[in-house]
């Protein structure tokens, strides 16, 4: 009902901060652990560094693609989408035995879905924005040298979706209403190896969004390409 952003949009940054802090017990993004750790046995990794360091790797990315609308968008035409992602890899633990959690990441996504309302409507525009927090699992052991590795992954996330509709007609004047809905998303994708020797990965991905709108469900699927700045983990 509100035409303004509500405070629920602050939930995701707060949750992310909580995750970061929980991954770093002292509240720092990087901290030293006095425990010594065994050299890794997995894959003959050549990684070295301070024993027991807990690192957070931040991977910013942007994406764009084709947004195919599904259920709940009768009469709409498909359009594109764009977004910003921030991957957070809080469980990196060099020189530790490989564990499943080392393949886990979290991802914040801010997506923009311009919607093409049914054609020939008068003065009507609709756009959807979303803020999502997703858990990402990539099928690769992170304590390997990963620059040239292909990293397939899947993600599951929850989010808030902001649906903005603006109408301008002679009978109504200019009217705008923003509605927020809850939803979830899931995706599969692949982070390609570094591009040349630059820490840039191209990330083709298919994301599925499912949103509860009043008493019904609206879905859309994006076929997108991401470009991620994917630095080496600090060691």
């Amino acid at each position: 009902m509100s035409s303004r952003f509500s405070t629920t949009w602050l939930v995701f940054p707060a949750l992310a901060l909580t995750l970061l802090l929980s991954a770093s017990p002292a509240g720092a993004v990087r901290l030293s652990d006095t425990k010594s750790s065994k050299p890794t046995q997995a894959g003959g990794s050549s990684m070295s560094g301070e024993d027991g360091d807990t690192n957070i790797r931040l991977i910013p990315a942007f994406n764009f693609g084709y947004n195919k609308l599904g259920k709940g968008y009768e009469g709409y035409s498909d359009l594109g989408n764009a977004g910003l992602d921030l991957y957070i890899q809080p469980f990196r633990a060099p020189n530790q035995p490989t564990k499943a959690k080392h393949n886990m990441l979290f991802r914040f996504s801010f997506d923009y879905f311009p919607l093409q309302v049914p054609k020939q409507n008068l003065g009507l525009k609709e756009d959807m924005y979303s803020a999502n927090l997703a858990f990402v699992y990539q099928f690769h052991k992170l304590n390997l040298q990963t620059e040239q590795a292909w990293l397939p992954f899947f993600s599951l996330g929850i989010g808030r979706y902001l649906d903005m509709v603006k109408l301008n007609s002679a009978a109504t004047g200019t009217v705008q209403r923003n509605r927020q809905y809850s939803g979830f998303n899931a995706s599969v994708g692949m982070a390609l190896p570094w591009f040349k020797n630059f820490p840039i990965r191209v990330v083709p991905e298919i994301r599925y969004h499912r949103v509860k709108v009043v008493d019904s469900i609206a879905t859309n699927m994006t076929y997108q390409i991401g470009l991620a700045y994917w630095p080496k983990a600090k060691q």
Partner: protein
Amino acid sequence: MIRPISRSFAAVLVVAALTGTGCRRATQALMGDTDAAVSSVSMTIPQVDTQTNNVYRIFVSALDQAGNPLAGLQIGNFSILENGGPGVPIDVATVNEPLYVVLVIDRSGSMAGSNTTAANNAAIAVVNALAPTDYAALIEFDNVVRITSGFTSDKSAIINFINAGQPLGATAVYDATVEGAKLLLNVHGRRMLLVLTDGDDNSSTNTSDDAIKNVNDRGLSANMVGLGGSSGPTALDHIASETGGVFAQSLTGSDLDTIFLGILTRYQNLMSIRYRRRESGRVTAYLNYGNLTASASKQLD
């Protein structure tokens, strides 16, 4: 140092991003041609159907100053608001589905004589004006509500039922309105509820609010017609306005058939607007016809 190939690659990506997401296709609003002879327009929403959980279909009657239906209306002529926020029309179409008419006629004692004659003549005029594919049902009430005839397309049969009505007893117009709405629950198509009474309700178990809720819950509107000077125009007008129906009063009964046929004309020239539902509550349809505008609202849910 960025190599030229990398710069090219980045440029391609940026251009692709801009074209991919910025390609909102502008469309020309599709509006029907306006008739210069039309000086004012009006609109009502006699019916709203639920197609799916998020697609509703509004039936609108758009008329000119003479009560003639506006021709050639397109999706660009209409706008939708839900609780004051924009709705998204999907398409607009002329409605050709069968029309189901429920005639709810007061048979209380005060209807004896010329009122009954006028009521019967008006009801028969409606029946005779129906298309062969349409259906009519008859509900008669005094202090008791009776479904005299279920839906039938046999005009002579229902005319016989109309002519057989005998005035007796008190007036339960709210109960009769509720019963009429219930009778229209399980039919699909255009649905018209027409209620005639000559007096205030004095024996219903339902209230006027109950009648309004029953009508609105079924996506219907109640067209309320008062006959003579003793019927309660305030109560009838309230039910009609809260359900999106028409209220009219005939003081002598001489114009009753004209009133009935005027209401029927609205249902014979309906257009439907399917729209994507984003909110519950009240829906308002707006008509943009050249420089002329009109609107109508209906409470849902």
